[in-house]
Amino acid sequence: MSCYGFNFRALYYLDIEELFEVVKVIRGDEDAAGIAPDKDVYIRGVIIPFFRKIGKAPKGANKDTVMRCALVRVAKRLGVKYDNWDEAGTDEIVQATRRAFEDALRKRIQKLSEEERQKLYSEARKELAKGATGLGVSLVGGGAVLVGEMSGFGIYLATTTGLKALSLALGTTFGWGVYQGAATVLGIILGPIGWTIAGVGIVATGIVAVGKWFGAKDDTKLTLAVIGLILALGENPFAFLGLPFDVSMDEVKRVRNAVMKAIHPDVLRTLLPDLPPWMVSEFDTLVLRTQEAYERIQRMREETNGRSTGNTKAGKELL
């Protein structure tokens, strides 16, 4: 059962704040302020119509097709290549797009001079010292400890303040402000964990997009909105844990605990003290991804257990 992916219904999994960030990318900050805060209004009223208009979907296409067309368009923009696009699965294109996007950003960061890069790091570190620890705790609960241990670059990006610092350090405000919204969402949805996976990549989206497609206003927005959604939707947590969609929460918990027991860095370090650092880091990431998948499923279940009543039919059909 494919209930989770880059499709119309999956959008209803996102929090209203997350959707609003994407809406802000599409409408711009000021225009978005007057839109009623409602998932249906955001999804059906703003996101899908925009994708329909810019994504070059065939006339009369249904909403899932519209989303796929927008995705394909962005994938092509980012240089993803397929011999036959019709044969490529949507999930596959999502992954390829995500990779292409990260690569593009990584390259952009590499192009910075050593001085610029150091400035970037130090600004981010300063901001982190101010408040990321607290934010990390509130975002991922127990996971915050792990995140702290990682001290990877990703953690810096998990904070809004960190992003502001980065934007200052890079000396660019154009386009960045637009993306910052989406980036904040990402920080919240994926938590610091997600950021560590996406890595440096995400940082400069705005910059790359703006640099490359300066003037192509709607295309830039489309790219930002699609990438925002890709990152917001994250990976399919069920597939990641190898579980079916209708699995019980107890089972999910069991799988998570089993993974944690087997590969937790502390355990590994005790058992295998000679493990090369890169491998430890790989396992770190795996632990974090497991935790992320677990938390996402937990959140989805809480939501479908009737906590939120304002969502309409489409949201409920996900059940």
Partner: protein, 239 residues
């Protein structure tokens, strides 16, 4: 404050109500959408819900939507009157909606009273308009067909949400526009809208009359085609 300037208390209340209704428009439309597809309701109630949605989203209104904020006043009033009619038709089932959508139904009976006293004679004229909504046609469908077709309702859902998103209902802007609007202007707009509506109906009746002969001829030619199918080719439904 308003009273100090000699504006009667009644008016101040009316505009406060209107402001509340305009801001709850997105939710109200969702209530109507849900009713239109509710299999536990009778077709008359569902058709009326569809007709009301079509009025808000598709039809040329009593007060044109291009007048910012004020253009929505007729819509929010029509929605309330329509929900009142549906409450009369399906009192039991509506309790479910009243519980589920408290913002829309908070102090609903009181709201209807406010409307009655504020609108006077216009109230009855509007009620008559609402009663007709369930039999109006739009986009080649009757309201009843739309109520029965999930596909049409889904399309209406999308278009209603897009309509709402493009209204840019900023609470401050709404508040300001209503503060500046004298009540007689609103009543005038509604009255002239109703007059136009009457004219439209007369026009449509005339057009229908004039088309009778050619339609009869067509029927002979096409044999088996229904009136609706012939209508769909034309644009006599006011869109």
């Amino acid at each position: 404050m308003a009273e100090a300037q000699g504006i009667p208390k009644q008016e101040k209340n009316f505009f406060e109500w209107i402001q509340e209704w305009i801001l709850s428009l997105p939710i109200d439309l969702k209530v109507l959408l849900e009713i239109s597809g509710d299999s536990e309701m009778g077709i008359p109630a569902r058709s009326l819900a569809v007709g009301t949605l079509a009025y808000v989203v598709y039809f040329a209104d009593l007060i044109p939507d291009k007048i910012p904020v004020l253009g929505l006043i007729d819509d929010v009033i029509v929605i309330r009157l329509s929900l009142e009619v549906i409450r009369g038709l399906e009192p039991e089932r509506m309790k479910y909606y009243e519980e589920k959508y408290p913002t829309t139904f908070a102090r609903f009976a009181e709201a209807i009273e406010v409307l009655k006293s504020a609108l006077g004679l216009i109230y009855d004229a509007l009620m008559a308009l609402v009663e007709k909504l369930k039999s109006r046609r739009f986009k080649g469908h009757t309201a009843e067909e739309a109520a029965r077709s999930e596909e049409v309702r889904e399309e209406m859902f999308d278009e209603a949400m897009e309509y709402v998103a493009n209204l840019n209902l900023n609470p401050d802007v709404v508040h300001k526009a209503l503060l500046e609007a004298p009540s007689h202007q609103v009543i005038n707009l509604l009255t002239s809208g109703l007059e136009e509506e009457d004219k439209r109906e007369i026009r449509e009746a005339e057009v229908a009359k004039r088309l009778e002969a050619p339609k009869a001829m067509f029927r002979k030619l096409l044999k088996g085609k229904t009136d609706e199918e012939i209508d769909e080719g034309g644009s006599s439904n006011g869109l």
